[in-house]
């Protein structure tokens, strides 16, 4: 059992709030992420990323969002597994830096502290640049992977994404020791 599921099962996850950042991922997830990936993003960057993902794929009462499908955790798995490459981590990181820069330039605030409308404006602004558009597209693709890939990869817990879309996956399903990056 990994640390995260241990914390969840024992009910010891805490949702930290701070005055500085509106925390959108819980502190336990955050510390877990940072131990896995050797802090390739700062704490604040993780928050920005999580908030961007939730903006791109919001939770609804009858449909899972980025949070429920563990999009942030999934992205981290994909960017830190044994065959992942540093250039993609840099790519993701650069986008986050961009986002915060646009937020600062336009509103003198961190992206995480903006209203939904302001977040939308920042992302639409980013979209006007070719590289920005590619970055958003990449995040959306990872979100859909987190929604619809096999749960062995860290997203789609209990097939929540498949259930939402009434999708029946093919079989046999891959076992954990056959995750593609271990082959």
């Amino acid at each position: 059992m990994n640390r995260r599921s241990f914390l969840i099962q024992t009910g010891s996850t805490i949702t930290a709030t701070s005055t500085l950042f509106s925390l959108n991922i819980d502190a336990a997830t955050l510390s877990n992420l940072q131990t896995i990936q050797g802090a390739w993003l700062s704490q604040q960057q993780w928050q920005t990323l999580a908030v961007v993902q939730e903006h791109l794929f919001p939770s609804e009462s009858d449909a899972p969002g980025a949070k429920e499908i563990q999009a942030t955790h999934y992205l981290n798995v994909m960017l830190t597994h044994p065959k992942s490459d540093a250039t993609e981590r840099d790519l993701i990181k650069n986008g986050i830096v961009q986002i915060d820069k646009i937020a600062q330039d336009s509103y003198s605030k961190y992206f995480t502290l903006l209203s939904t409308e302001q977040r939308e404006a920042v992302l639409r602004h980013l979209e006007t640049e070719k590289s920005g558009k590619q970055w958003i597209r990449l995040l959306l693709e990872y979100i859909f992977e987190a929604l619809l890939s096999d749960p062995i990869y860290g997203g789609n817990p209990n097939g929540i994404g498949w259930k939402w879309l009434a999708h029946q996956p093919g079989f046999p399903a891959p076992p954990k020791n056959k995750r593609y990056y271990l082959l």
């Binding site: 959306l140 859909f144 890939s149 096999d150 999708h167 079989f171 046999p172 076992p175 593609y180």
Partner: protein
Amino acid sequence: MSYDFDVCVIGSGAGGGPVAFTLAKAGYSVLVLEKGPWLTEKDFFKDELACCRRNIYTSNLREEPHVVEMETDEGGWTSQSTYQSGWNFWNGNCVGGSSNFMSGFFHRLKPVDFKLRTVFGSIEGADVADWPISYADLEPYYDKVEREIGVSGRLISHPHAEPRSRQDFPYPPTAEHPISKYIDEACGQMDLHSIPMPRAILPYSALERQGCSYNGYCGSYACATGAKGSSRAALLDRAVATGFCQIRPNAMVSRIISDQTGKITAVEYYDKNGQRQLVDAKIVVIACQAIETARLLLNSPGPKHQNGLANNNHLVGKNLLFAGGGAGSGRLPYAKFSPAKAAELRQFAGPFVNRSIQDWYIIDDPTFGVRQKGGTIDFVHLHPNPIARATRQIRGRSGLLWGKPLKEKVKAHFLEGIYLKIEAFCDWLPIPDCYVTLDPSVKDKWGLPVARIRVGFHVRNLQVGWYLAERGAEVLKQMGAENVISFAAGAPPTNLVAGGCRFGNDPKTSVLNANCRAHEVENLYITDGSFMPTGGSVPYTWTIYANAFRVAENIVEQLGGNK
């Protein structure tokens, strides 16, 4: 002189399997060299990331790219490495090759396909040639494929049905989705012939393989039951069981060495550890799939073959073919049908669609032009891959979609109806601007020049592709489909490739003779789709298998018959 093996087969896919199987059964020693790993049923799972998004069953594009030349709007050519474009021309690199991953939609060619030039005359800008053999020569081997690979289907009579030596298929059709009967109905109303499409899939256990489990993820995925007629499951496992066939996986053949007389003396390959190895055999058979076969020949010059093996006439790599043309789709919205019918349509798309029409295999329509070669329209399920389907919804009318509008669109796509796809196959014309050469600068991880592929197309492909796709779309509309689209594309479908070493009787205009032996090299045969001067208006694999069986019998004969 003694040789390591009687026959060395390079490449273990649909072109290589029948040779290894036939020769080993006849008692000859066979070595199969395959660049990829040897995976079996127990290694195969339905993992969209592994198969289709990270492409772990094909060579790594960073280490082994192709370079593709495309025509620009101005009529010039621009080239790009597939590592940059992500456009993958590898189709499956493991024992059994791409045949592990095929959908197994199987069609024979028809008698007319063997003599297009004679029947329809020449076409400007294309180099159409008759085959040196006829349908009757190949028919026994189509029949053999039905039995050895296991082809399931049901015969109906229709105007373009090809002659058969046996009454019906050895295996009844695979299970069908309820949508198939609605295709039949619509075709009936339109006076078209809805043909049950033959499949290289076993509906039940036979040939020491399990029957199909209708698991929903078939095409692009390797088969965990063995029901799919891959070269590995259907042929190589049995070849190895004879004791006469050895398979060496992770063996990348880099060069074929020939002597002063032009004959092959050895095959050079790199083993799993990157060590260079040599092996010799009386006869060498290449089946690396059209593009890599041409590349290997071009990478193998010798004293008598300055321009590459069997290439003194500069024909190797020329007249490359793809099976494609048009496509389309439509959606049957559940809300439009009675609850009972909607419930049928909602059923799990594990069972297949299995329908084709060939009423326009020859187009005799004055509004379209002179009587000419048309093609086949296949009806198939939308590819099930959910991540790919969801990802396609990202693009909005103006810019990217995200947030709730994206979620709504994805939800509607998955939940409000069933999609039906059409794939239309014209006769992809051989033209001077579709060929393989070596790239002058880009090399793979072994330092070998990579294939440079020019992918021009004849405008006739587009015209016929549009025509066929529109006919297919009419059937979809008749069924009550909405959002019906149909189109043709000039871009080649990279998984359906042939040509490049056409066979013929004249050494000046062909690389191979009628038995697929190189005119210039007495101990070299080529048995993948490279031999085809024209492709027929269908996917090629049944024909590749059949021809490889035919050539294999020739090789047995050349070696002195069954041992």
